[in-house]
């Protein structure tokens, strides 16, 4: 009996570990970053560390532009693909495609960035215009990053719809597509919406692939077209931390960017897991 209690205590400590980590991340980030979190940081239009100017507004806008475009592209390809896989494809086709999609989930992002840099960027430069490193390149690369996950989760929620629903609709003389549109999609919609919100969060937090193709100008500006170069929140941290002096306001500003990222992504995850999924349960 005694050892049983000790074991359960030890296991509880292990389980609390991830909570402790998240708590510590919050504390440490805030401790370093909170002094920079003021309106001139969030809405300042100039980021220029050697002039002690730390405004992330252009970076924030750039990030949102890239993320929004990428999610739209990924949705346009991913959701119909998921519908096809779960509703219209023969079993063996689905198996092959699903397994290969699952294999690609989590493919090292640096490899995707490398592809973007070596193939996509020159292609855009030669055929579309600009320097090649651009919002457009960011869209494509990031869409690629979130696509496999989106397909997998969306397909899972479509398949979770009981077969009896489909049979009931088909038995009433509905076509396959009418059944999908009127019965299957509404039942799976909360799962799909959660997948999309999670995808937005993942896109926002993604660092390497995007960093390698969006250009990261020294002094970012608010983008005016899709061929403009931009900076991402994540890439700013990654590029500048190595030359930011420890203890300088530059370092605090980078941690403040971490705080902003942390809260945006956590809010999105919260919405996806607790608001959308809970609604589904009720």
């Amino acid at each position: 009996m005694r050892t049983e209690d000790i074991i359960s205590k030890i296991l509880f400590l292990c389980a609390s570990f991830s909570a402790v980590i998240v708590f510590m991340i919050t504390v440490f980030l805030l401790q370093e970053g909170v002094r920079m979190l003021n309106p001139s940081f969030l809405f300042g239009k100039t980021w220029s560390p050697h002039r002690e100017l730390f405004g992330i507004f252009p970076t924030l806008v750039g990030t949102l532009c890239v993320v929004a475009g990428a999610v739209v592209i990924a949705t346009a390809i991913g959701i119909p693909s998921a519908i096809f896989l779960s509703e219209f494809s023969p079993f063996w086709v689905r198996n092959i495609i699903k397994s290969s999609v699952e294999l690609i989930v989590g493919i090292p992002s640096v490899v995707i960035g490398f592809f973007g840099l070596t193939v996509l960027v020159p292609f855009i430069r030669d055929n579309v215009g600009g320097r090649g490193e651009s919002i457009l390149a960011g869209w494509i690369v990031l869409a690629f990053m979130i696509l496999p996950n989106l397909i997998t989760i969306a397909e899972d929620s479509l398949r979770a719809v009981p077969r009896s629903y489909r049979e009931a609709s088909l038995a009433l003389g509905a076509t396959r597509w009418q059944t999908v549109r009127n019965v299957v999609l509404p039942s799976a919609s909360s799962g799909i919406r959660a997948a999309l919100v999670l995808g937005v969060g993942r896109a926002m937090g993604e660092t390497m692939a995007v960093l390698m193709v969006v250009g990261n100008p020294e002094t970012p500006w608010i983008p005016l077209g899709i061929l403009d170069r931009v900076r991402m929140l994540t890439s700013t941290i990654a590029i500048e931390f190595s030359y930011a002096e420890w203890g300088s306001s530059h370092q605090y500003a980078l941690f403040a960017i971490g705080v902003v990222l942390f809260f945006m992504v956590t809010a999105l995850n919260f919405i996806a897991t607790f608001v959308i999924r809970r609604k589904n349960i009720q």
Partner: protein, 281 residues
């Protein structure tokens, strides 16, 4: 008639998008293999990098293997223990719901934020320097929630009847978990751990901030040695290399990384499918 036509149109559209996914998704794998095979030679796999973009990648390969092994050593037992607690001991109350919420939060945390935390807490605060140890621990923070999730799922699929049969034999809860539940859940847990390892080996931002510059010419000798890794190497050479040989090396390193990644995810999926088939019978 009109509905039937609509159905056809929709089907056509779906074929196009799924065709697009089928073409787009494997394109990078094919591209890396096509360009990378030429770069692979014994000298490249066993040599050291010199003058930035020349030479081989042996220290990077070993660095990546060390980082991932050490990260698994920290992350996997902790993750499995957490999953056991959450699925076998925890009743649904405020404490466990909080723990669950934080686990989900950690799962969604951008890797660069984890890297920042590792940099501040491990590298500076605990004075581990940018090192193998700091990198591996930071990676394990990233891997932890995935291991927890996968192990929890694997434990939950173990039929309740097994637990009852064991308890009815006079086994304690822990004996039951150790002798019946875990052996049955092992394939699922391994799938989760392998997928987590695949994530860790490809992770760049975290090791960039905590493990080392990436071009280290030596295999790490102590836990406090700065450690190069394949993703960092690829990033540096791809963005800052200037010569054809540099590009060639970036392709070679990408191929090696991809092979290691695919080895992990293929075996993960293989174990999972094999195991599911066995449970189904």
């Amino acid at each position: 008639m009109k509905e039937a036509q609509k159905e056809k149109a929709v089907r056509g559209l779906l074929y196009v998008t799924v065709g697009l996914s089928i073409v787009i998704l494997p394109i990078i794998v094919v591209w890396v293999i096509a360009n990378g095979v030429g770069a692979i030679s014994l000298g490249f796999l066993t040599g050291r990098p010199y003058r930035f973009e020349y030479g081989g990648i042996f220290p990077q390969i070993m660095g990546s293997i060390y980082l991932v092994s050490l990260c698994t050593l920290f992350g996997a037992p902790l993750g499995i223990a957490s999953a056991i607690y959450l699925s076998e001991y925890a009743s649904d109350n405020v404490v466990t719901r909080t723990v669950r919420f934080f686990t989900e939060t950690l799962a969604g945390m951008p890797s660069i934020v984890i890297g920042l935390f590792g940099l501040e807490f491990l590298v500076y605060y605990l004075k581990l320097k940018t090192s193998l140890l700091a990198g591996a621990i930071s990676l394990s923070f990233m891997m932890l929630p995935w291991t927890i999730r996968a192990s929890e799922e694997a434990i939950n699929v173990v039929p309740k009847e097994y637990r009852e049969a064991s308890l009815a034999m006079g086994a304690t809860k822990w004996q039951t978990i150790l002798r019946v539940v875990l052996p049955a859940a092992i394939p699922g847990i391994m799938t989760g751990v392998l997928l987590g390892m695949g994530k860790a080996i490809g992770e760049t931002a975290v090791v960039w901030l905590t493990a080392g510059s990436g071009l280290e010419a030596f295999v790490p000798r102590t836990l406090k040695s700065p450690t190069g890794s394949l993703p960092m190497y690829i990033y540096l050479i791809a963005t800052q290399g200037h010569t054809a040989e540099g590009l060639q090396n970036a392709f070679g390193a990408s191929l090696v990384l991809l092979v290691m990644f695919l080895a992990m995810s293929v075996s993960a999926l293989f174990i999972r499918n094999h195991y599911l088939r066995r449970l189904g019978s």
